[in-house]
Amino acid sequence: MTKKSSFLQKLIVAPYMVWAAAFIIVPMFFVAYYAFTDRNGNFSLSGFIATKNYIPLFIQSIWYGLLATVICLLLAYPIAFIISRAKPTTQKVLLMLVMIPMWMNLLIRTYAWMTILQDTGIINHILKLLGFGPVHMINTPGAVILGLVYNFFPYMVLPIYTVLLKLDGTLIEAAQDLGSGTTRVFTKVILPLSLPGIVSGITMVFVPSVSSFYIANKLGGISLIGDRIEELIRTNINLGAALSLVLMVLILVSISVMNKFTDEDGGILV
């Protein structure tokens, strides 16, 4: 009986194993292979040595990613809180509004923002009608942050909303009962208990923000590390692969540092 069920289990996980091998392990292997070889396929660390030229770009990308993540968090938390406290039917509508943009392709959404932010775009058109001069928005750092926040915002809202929804209402009553006013109910009970959602939200926004490409290019007219890697893959795949690997390590390190903080607060898994 046990043997049969274990065979069944294997059968059930088999498709995933194949999928993981084909789309995670094999590509990773190729990235590593190209990172450690040169144009002729010989072992070489030249790609990693050249990485030092990209340090400012790494810093800039991480800075943009951090900024976008913080803004996402500050916007998403109150919204997630409001949704989680709304009536069930209202909750569905609000969640839908948060998620609808995710149904559209990222490239299309970014193009839409381009037309909105352009010097001759909708916003400037309206400003002109109201008698204000054109405000230059496209190709500014602000536009890049806007693009990042806009695109990854749902990934911050959803995990926080999920945690807040599961929060036991009697814990809030208990805190009130023990003398906490609204502020302290929030800081001493709700916030610490929603930390797991915040952490996974931060991870889900920070990682794609740092490694994003296209958004900065189209809205900011600049290349972040993701854009640069995308360009390099076409011209110098070995350097591109080395940069990818370094970026991945940087992201893994920052995630594990963050998890360290929450682990102490009660073993939270992202």
Binding site: A174, L193, G266
Partner: protein, 376 residues
């Protein structure tokens, strides 16, 4: 009992169109152990939550210290609650849970430590300070919840079925412990339960509720011996509730026999309910009995036998130490002080006899619903 601590005056509460409380009047005195007793949905928890400040009454007044506190939020009331599922903070350890209210008050660390240590000792959890609350057993979590609520010296401790989730043995131990804690801490306890045994063994004052109305307020003895109506008689312990006629003062006729009793002041031939507790009925030979009937069921209960006996079509429950075989014809004899006469009420005739009795003594809710309409 000395001074009045909390008063509820004509409290009414509606949730949607459901009237949960229909005019509750209750005074709670200092250092009293008061129990709100009743089946699920009787409004006892709502009453507790009104005092805690979690529910605002639609009308009526909550009075504390001579002033109305209807609009005072929970965190400004000197009452603390032990919640039904404890509601311990999962992100804090035992020490920090108990210290929670003290930290809100911004007491110095030294004072907090002293108080938490004192509380841990009071609830016999010395050495558990650093433990994660999720690693504790139900009984231990219960104690932490009590310690946490008591730590900030409430004027009234509100307990919402705090022992409901514990097993029977632990529940009995905790009953004794709670009573001890109440006496040691010297504060008022307002305790909500549907377990009549719990209510009788712990309380100074029992408030029996049903359907959003207080049915009776009294000491455990009052409630048991002098129930005001059929609901109270049925809910508190086992009871044979029969239709009776007051022939004159101190003479009640039931099942065709004129019993002597101690109740008077009723109109001549007034229809009343008579309550006779199963343990107050003496078994005698059939020919010597005031009434006689056939044994239809015998259950051994350890200390006594629980016998169901059919007398003129009404099934009585009798608790006796003498075994009687099924089918035996036996007589019963009842002392005057064992008969309690009650005015007819809306509950008269609702509870029937013991013909459908199925030994669900420990669960009053099930028992009540099973017995409804059996005597129609």
């Amino acid at each position: 009992m000395q001074n009045k601590l909390v008063s509820l005056q004509n409290i009414r509460v509606k949730f949607d169109d459901d009237e949960i409380l229909k005019g509750i009047n209750l005074d709670i005195y200092d250092k009293e152990f008061v129990t709100l007793l009743g089946p699920s949905g009787c409004g006892k928890t709502t009453t507790l939550r009104i005092i805690g400040g979690f529910v605002t009454p639609d009308s009526g007044k909550v009075i504390y210290g001579g002033a109305e506190i209807n609009d005072v939020p929970p965190h400004k009331r000197p009452f603390n609650t032990v919640f039904q599922k404890y509601a311990l903070f999962p992100h804090l350890n035992v020490y920090e849970n108990i210290a929670f209210g003290l930290r809100i008050k911004k007491l110095p660390e030294k004072q907090i430590k002293a108080k938490v240590t004192e509380m841990l000792e009071l609830v016999s959890l010395k050495g558990f300070a650093k433990r994660n609350v999720n690693s504790l057993s139900g009984g231990q979590q219960q104690r932490v919840a009590i310690a946490r609520a008591l730590a900030i010296d409430p004027k009234v401790l509100l307990l919402d079925e705090p022992l409901g989730a514990l097993d029977l043995k632990l529940r009995k131990d905790m009953q004794i412990e709670l009573k001890k804690i109440q006496q040691q801490a010297g504060i008022t306890f307002l305790y909500v339960t549907h377990d009549q045994e719990e209510a009788l063994s712990m309380s100074d004052k029992v408030v029996v509720m049903d359907n959003g109305i207080i049915q009776q307020i009294g000491t455990p003895q009052d409630i048991y011996n002098e129930p005001k109506n059929a609901f109270v008689a049925d809910f508190i312990g086992e009871s044979n509730i029969l239709d009776a006629v007051m022939k004159e003062d101190y003479i009640a006729s039931l099942s065709g026999y004129d019993f002597k009793c101690l109740d008077g002041g009723y109109a001549k031939n007034e229809l009343v309910d008579a309550v006779i507790r199963p343990e107050d009925v003496d078994v005698v030979p059939a020919e010597k009995g005031m009434l006689a009937g056939v044994v239809t069921s015998v259950v051994f209960k350890g200390v006594y036998f629980e016998i169901i006996i059919d007398i003129n079509g009404f099934k009585w429950m009798i608790q006796t130490t003498d075994y009687q075989p099924i089918g035996a014809m036996i007589g019963i004899s009842i002392e005057p002080d064992a008969i309690h006469i009650m005015k007819k009420s809306v509950y008269s005739g609702v509870y029937g006899d013991y013909s459908s009795f199925s030994d669900e003594v420990d669960n009053p809710e099930v028992e009540t619903s099973n017995e409804v309409n059996t005597n129609l």
